[in-house]
Symmetry: C2
Subunit: 413 residues, 2 copies
């Protein structure tokens, strides 16, 4: 039974401002599901010695190590070499991987060349995990003392493929009977972390045997209840979760780790209701989030990105006199956008946002960060006003979340 694992992420691009490392999140999530805790991610540049030493250090601490990246065709792809050196093995061409890559390339009308052929190289003795969405295969290596190292390609879709196709089944076999980490979750929005702490303190929560942990971010706070030890029964955790949910009414929107757009999607699908969006300053972010959910076409009709005022008038029917008098960033425009998109697309709900994301366009009266979000349904329109701090990116993120949050509250009210 494996309890802890580490990740070594390789690639200068992860440290020089070019790419975000998304592997730790994905891997951490999948490992938790089989009762393994990811306890460290060490991100290092492309360098044989630095990769070798980081993997060696990880193998000192844990029995399962994942290495991402550095399996590509160029001379700065050195993960294979680092691992071969660490394990004292050679490097060989894998015939199956080479055949797979050649066939894929021919189908795509490209030819195999020396650089590409490099991607079929594997550490001697590796179990080869064929990559059907990219080129270089994954590899499973075993150390002399029986520890396991998985090598995965760096591109996120290939990393995900190798993880899902080979590594998760392997983990489930290894961990049979381990079960997931025991925890109870409460996802909240509209309440701050310190307010939650205070409510808990006033109520003498948590009870003995239960520990709390918090994660704040992206406009929500996640409360996690964990057993203080293996002797704590599931029933104690369940009872604590119920008490916590009561203490945090009406801020809990989910009891599992789901995005708000998933919860909204389930509610709409269950009720057979539909949704349309009208976005100004978010430019399509809300639609993009809603449609990230598989099956969203059942309840999401679509929307209008009404960036220019002329589009607000022409496609959403916003009154041009109101646009002139009140300005595009105003309560009545948000209301007309929400109702306009609902009616024109024939949806049950319309969601709108209009705001000033900056850095330009602000004034004393209407500062950067001023945002109106609206929700319309057959019963009427509701608009909320916010002023968000931060830069363009965080204002747009916060606005997207506020719109989904308002819609959620309308759906459950």
């Amino acid at each position: 039974m494996i309890e802890r694992a580490e990740l070594v992420s390789t690639g200068a691009e992860l440290l020089s401002g070019r790419s975000v490392n998304t592997h730790a999140r994905l891997l951490g999530e999948r490992l938790r599901a089989v009762g393994i805790e990811l306890v460290r991610d060490t991100t290092v540049p492309d360098g044989l010695a630095v990769i070798r030493d980081a993997v060696a250090a990880a193998l000192q601490r844990v029995e399962l190590v994942f290495v991402s990246g550095g399996l590509g065709p160029t001379v700065d792809d050195l993960t294979r070499d680092a691992l071969a050196e660490l394990l004292g093995c050679g490097i060989v061409t894998d015939a199956a991987a080479l055949a797979e890559m050649t066939e894929r390339m021919e189908r795509a009308g490209r030819v195999m060349n020396a650089a590409r052929r490099r991607q079929a190289l594997v550490v001697e003795g590796a179990e080869v995990l064929l990559n059907r969405v990219g080129a270089a295969p994954g590899q499973r290596l075993t150390t002399a003392d029986g520890k396991t190292v998985f090598l995965l390609p760096g591109p996120p879709n290939e990393f995900r493929y190798i993880l899902g196709e080979y590594i998760e089944p392997w983990l489930r076999r290894e961990q049979a009977g381990a079960g997931a980490l025991r925890e109870r979750l409460l996802l909240t929005q509209g309440i701050g972390e310190s307010d939650i702490v205070q409510r808990f303190e006033l109520a003498g929560f948590p009870p003995d045997g239960v520990m709390t942990a918090y994660c704040a971010g992206a406009g929500r706070v996640e409360v996690r209840l964990e057993p203080a030890g293996p002797e704590v029964a599931d029933a104690v955790l369940d009872a604590a979760a119920e008490e916590a949910a009561r203490l945090l009414v009406p801020y809990v929107y989910a009891r599992e780790r789901v995005a708000l757009e998933d919860v909204i999607g389930r509610l709409l699908a269950e009720r057979g209701q539909t949704l349309a969006t009208a976005e100004s300053c978010t430019g399509g972010m809300i639609g993009a989030r809603l449609t990230a959910v598989p099956g969203s076409s059942v309840y999401y009709w679509g929307g209008v990105v009404a960036y220019a005022d002329a589009v607000k008038a022409a496609l959403l029917g916003v009154d041009e006199a109101v646009l002139r008098q009140e300005g595009a960033v105003s309560e009545p425009v948000a209301a007309q956008m929400a109702d306009g998109v609902r009616q024109r697309l024939g949806a049950d709900y319309g969601v709108s946002v209009t705001g000033i994301a900056g850095p330009g366009g602000g004034s004393a009266e209407k500062p950067v960060g001023l945002v109106y979000v609206g929700v319309a349904d057959a019963a009427g329109v509701q608009v909320e006003r916010f002023v968000y701090p931060g830069d363009r990116e965080s204002i747009r993120e916060a606005t997207s979340r506020a719109a989904l949050a308002l819609l959620y509250r309308r759906l459950v009210s």
Copy 2:
């Protein structure tokens, strides 16, 4: 002069599947601009000993260390304590930080409580970096041997604020005269990494004194030319960059690290031309990317998220007979969407996408991953067909990129 720095990212949420660590990318980018290389990011959970040891290890290797997260109000926020222990200092309440937080809270109609007050605690002797977009301030600490440790809050917008407001000015002062790392960039799209390598090899590129490095991902390959040593003149790098650009015609779209949407935005703004989008399977992702660029309202009119077929017909004028006969994911529908949105929004260019992002909805004839992207202007409509591998997320990402790439080629053709 500082040459290398490390980041220690703290927070169980970064390893358990809840959050992506975006700090390394941002920090790495900003450090490069002042000639400092970020050489490692160690992500660890919330734990006093593990944070203390990770920072200590980093201070063994480099003279500048950044620590993110763990400055919040709850008992699992332990970065202050870890640093105090490491440096042998106490922890004190900072009056200015407390006053700032109290005032911000009062303005927001919230009250100061014991948990929130914890966020005004700093390591004794720290320079306090007031946080005007969140609660806990940043801190600058100096070790006994003159090394520097910056503590930054974990929420990305607060991290960005403290970095931009205090740390970058400090770095520029420290690094006065250091200059940025010397490199020449070529951003390419539409050509694979190994094809680039082969073109270079055939041409005997690079010349002496110049080294190449590659970063592939997100549908593009970045080629970086670096001097082999300090004696290599800038003119040698410049000449090599020109040669590389010639060898890679027509795939180079930028010579600096910019997103394609920035390049497109500049072209449109220079020419006084405008753009509208019609998105189906991407659900707004293209609009979201275009509007992430400050000032995009000058050239981006907006668009239609035509998720349901009825919206394609009603808002974009797609022929319902064609929708029935050819299906929504087809060449003629992509063409009509691009031209429809261009005409209805009165823009110079219309961009469209329609495809099957999966996991459901595929067939033998129209598999998951089949995508059509279109660009329309006054001269006509151009549509390209792709079949992307991978899951829903990567198909949607690839589709967004393909649409922007097609538009870019149309703009420069």
